[in-house]
Symmetry: C2
Subunit: 600 residues, 2 copies
């Protein structure tokens, strides 16, 4: 059975020492996030994840969700009690707005808790996880009335939320959706259609489920410009705010999936269900994108989270399992064999995992700060910069974070050898659960196209120029320090590859957009390397300062410095190879007709 | 439900046009492999795999194997009938020696059939697959008597074989095994111990199962130098050659695994079972290595095979599923959306898969030819060259082949989007089944160490020098051809990276063996790129010649040329990045103590 412990020390390092959250105390919401409060939230949240939620991970995977004859869905044993505890402790309220019953604390904290919960049990974490995104969409676009009716109960965890986009014939291409919304006399709409892959679509954890549903009104354009967004509650809400009559929406079946068995992935049938339009008609996609952007960051964190959970168990096995001898001679001659930890190839996988998880945690929490600053920073310039950076990097956090998160889970399973393939040891579940994050909320190829096709060129490339300048500035500053210089030089080189690739797109993507499409995925990975490089350079800087200042926790900061060096040496070289793939263009990639791929 | 069709055309291209099998007609065994016979074997074998074995893949995964109360094991429905057909058609006899009832045809054919069977159903293919390796070990090391008793029935498929190495406390480090072999009055041994992860350890497909078991005789050295190899039949064989009394070996349980559910992975209990020593006492590891080398090539082919099966279904989905529009404007304006195939990122994954599977098929079959030539070539020099090359490249075919095979399966699942995560669509089974090949028969990190620690330095680096020369020679020759030159230049550059990395090991691996260990895995991948590059250069050369000669199947050869170009453009750049990782050395990788990896 795998174990899990929240990385409290590292998380507090990022929040307090790297991001210096306290320095934003003048901004709304941050004033309540003193170092003491932050510590308490992170520690207690970590404990809840590790002690209450993690023990249900393997059993939830084995048991799965069950659709009953009446269409109700039973979640795995223990989920309901754990969700009750979650609700009672108010874990869902941390960074929700105070006017709706939230605690109004910075998203950075919410993001950290998201990581802990997902590491502990991704299936479980998805129930509240999707609720957060639904809340954001409602707050951004719905009328005050709708907000008052739905948001407080969703914040408290009494009700949960879902997002309903996908239909059998369309996932990425939402212009193809067929679900219909017919206006009713009372201002509501009758929603009819079938949605698939609806995470947490039906379950027994909450008294009501608030579905956000994309549908087409009569005579709307037959494209993505003709989509509207609706709130469709499972139980219609009475005038007193309490759930009443059952709405005409039901779970038709539960999908059998590779992983995340503890989350109910439902086919949802809408048979003239009552829905309420969110925002303007035909502007549903824009509203849904608010939810999706939040969800994409959350999925990036899932990539980190599965990597972290797998990593902890990879470390444990490498420390305990004895097999073979160190290449440099027996490390523990009194034993019949040395621990796996002595073997360079095991260490390679562990250092890869350490460099990725710690770097990605920094990036994700930094991203959470940017989300906040984009709304709350004091000046227009700061708000714009934060918005530019997080818009640019959202597809990177999602795409790079989940690609590498999956790779990390696979490597940690590899450390376990044959025992990693055995179900009862739990390593293979990390791999199966991590796999979905590369697919949902926009497959990673879609993220890459969002980055290259949309984010890169927005505002004449303002965001990517800001990233270049940020990285170059920090590299230049760090190069004066002997310890940081070798790291800075390599990160700067990777940034140079990113610039060159960007330039190549500018010169070759207009004449043939396939050139941009062909290089989008490698480009997303270069940017991931650069973004993590920036984080590692900053972490190394902070660690160097702490050591120079005589910090008591010396080993922690020395490990940060060494891991930064490892990242620079072993992650950044890929940037050059990825650039060369981009510069190969789309010709050989796109030349062959479909017949050339047929088996004969 | 996924579908499978054997890649007959491509396989015949490799055998007839690339390897020119007919040109070896003067060598023993090859004379019977005329082009007609080869075609017939490949076509019929492909049909058998696709029509009889593939339909049992998903059902076998869902049903799994069942251990009954009496310790017997029932394989999934249909396996027994399919194995009966396999036996009756003589598919296991193709490249087995004629004096034991085989057809004595070249291993190249056996390897091709292995691919087809593994693509169709890896779990099923493992039953005869392990038998082949066991036969080789018995033929190489066992007495004539033992050979006469066991081999003919194993060749015919009446009996199957297993390999029993792993124990709970040891997998890679066989010096730690505890299974005991006590000599008996009659010259046999009483074998006692527990073996785990025994593929096909017990089943209902054959009337007898011949276990090859590693065990220690009394007073043998307490290390890998004290291991002997034994034949332990499930049923003891009577004087008339028929199976008789049940031996004291039994299946204690079946492991619950991530994949290959159709193959029974058993815990085997030996309770004083009668065994017969194979070869010399304490020389068991050498004997087992014969079996393992054959098995490692077979596992490399499994990597190819799962990639191929996943690829075929990735292609089918990309052709059928409509979603979005081509970046260059609607490809099929009459439809509401274009097929996925128009999207560059989908094409990237398809071309990656095509370049890998076709290149890997060429390498695997070329490897099969080297196995043969190492025994049968006319001159000492030719035999030595073939032996050097296949010894060097066996860990590469296993390690690179299965790493990339898994990646390919993951990418093909990715093309299916959310539908790829759904069990019933079968894409996720390819991923789960492909995963084991990176682990068993020596985890890929062990393969990398075998390559760098053992194969590279053997005979003063003779083998790797031969590879360098081979690649350089072919690149130099191809650079005169305008069409081939860009391919040759990139393959030559990758070969240059391999040479530089090799040199770096020579200069830095002696002083600190961890430097060799740290770079072993990236080195294995560079060599995989170079080996596939060599194959692609040759295939491009052959294709160019065929086109110049006015071949009728023009599209096939044009696709080969284009895919060779894609390989050169998009696979070879990684060699440079991998070299830079190697040259980073082991310092930052090995610096941190285990405490630095603990979660706090």
């Amino acid at each position: 059975m795998p174990s899990y412990k929240a990385p409290v020390r590292d998380t507090l390092f990022v929040i307090n020492e790297l991001l210096r959250l306290e320095s934003y105390g003048n901004l709304p919401g941050f004033e309540s996030a003193s170092a003491d409060i932050v510590s308490a939230v992170i520690e207690e949240g970590g404990k809840f994840a590790a002690e209450v939620v993690a023990p249900l991970n393997a059993s939830g995977d084995a048991e799965g969700c069950k659709r009953n004859a009446d269409g109700s869905v039973t979640t795995p044993a223990g989920f309901r009690q754990a969700f009750d505890q979650f609700r009672e402790a108010g874990w869902g309220t941390i960074s929700a707005p105070e006017e709706f019953g939230g605690q109004g604390m910075p998203h950075v904290l919410g993001f950290a808790l998201k990581e802990f919960l997902s590491s502990a049990n991704q299936s479980f974490a998805m129930y509240p996880g999707l609720t957060n995104g639904a809340i954001e969409a409602i707050l951004a676009k719905a009328s005050d009335d709708l907000q008052q009716i739905y948001v407080p109960k969703m914040v408290s965890g009494e009700w949960t939320g879902t997002m309903n986009l996908t239909e059998p014939q369309c996932g990425t291409d939402l212009g193809l959706i067929r679900t219909r919304a017919v206006p009713q006399m009372d201002g509501s709409y009758a929603i009819t259609g079938t949605k698939i892959f609806i995470s947490a679509g039906e379950h027994d954890l909450a008294e009501n489920i608030i579905h956000l549903v994309l549908a087409k009104t009569p005579d709307s354009p037959d494209s993505s410009k003709g989509i509207s967004l609706f709130i469709v509650p499972k139980l219609l809400v009475n005038a007193d705010g309490k759930p009443g009559t059952r709405n005409a929406v039901s779970c038709g079946s539960i999908e059998r999936k590779m992983g995340i068995h503890g989350n109910a992935t439902c086919v949802m049938n809408y048979d003239g269900a009552t829905g309420f339009m969110v925002g303007e008609e035909n502007k549903g996609l824009a509203a849904m994108f608010i939810m999706m952007n939040a969800a994409r960051l959350g999925v990036g964190i899932q990539g980190l989270a599965q990597a972290e959970a797998a990593y902890q168990n990879g470390v444990a096995y490498a420390a305990e399992r004895r097999q073979g001898r160190a290449l440099t001679g027996p490390a523990e001659p009194g034993e019949k064999a040395d621990p796996l930890f002595v073997h360079p190839d095991v260490r390679r996988m562990l250092m890869d995992a350490k460099a990725f998880t710690e770097g990605m945690r920094a990036l994700a929490l930094w991203g959470g700060l940017q989300v906040e600053l984009s709304h709350k920073a004091a000046s227009d310039e700061e708000r714009q910069l934060a918005d530019d950076l997080i818009s640019l990097l959202t597809p990177v956090i999602k795409g790079y974070g989940t690609d590498k998160g999956f790779d990390t889970a696979v490597n940690m399973q590899q450390i376990w050898g044959g025992h990693g393939y055995i179900v009862d040891n739990g390593m293979e579940q990390f791999v199966r659960d991590a796999r979905i994050a590369m697919i949902y909320e926009g497959a990673n190829g879609v993220q890459a196209m969002d980055l290259v096709g949309r984010k890169l060129g927005a505002n004449m490339g303002r965001a990517v120029q800001a990233l270049f300048a940020l990285v170059d500035g920090e590299c230049a500053a760090a190069k004066g320090d002997a310890q940081l210089a070798p790291i800075a030089e390599r990160v700067e080189k990777a940034n140079g590859e990113l610039k060159a690739a960007t330039m190549w797109f500018m010169q070759n993507g207009m004449s043939n957009p396939n050139n941009a499409g062909a290089g989008a995925h490698p480009y997303m990975h270069i940017m991931g390397i650069v973004a993590l490089g920036l984080m590692w350079l900053r972490m190394a800087t902070v660690a160097g300062e702490a050591l120079a200042g005589g910090a008591s926790d010396k080993a922690f900061y020395e490990a940060k410095l060494m891991t930064a060096r490892y990242f620079a040496e072993c992650f950044t070289p890929d940037a050059g190879a990825l650039r060369r793939k981009i510069e190969a263009g789309s010709e050989s990639m796109m030349a062959l007709p479909i017949e050339a791929f047929a088996t004969t």
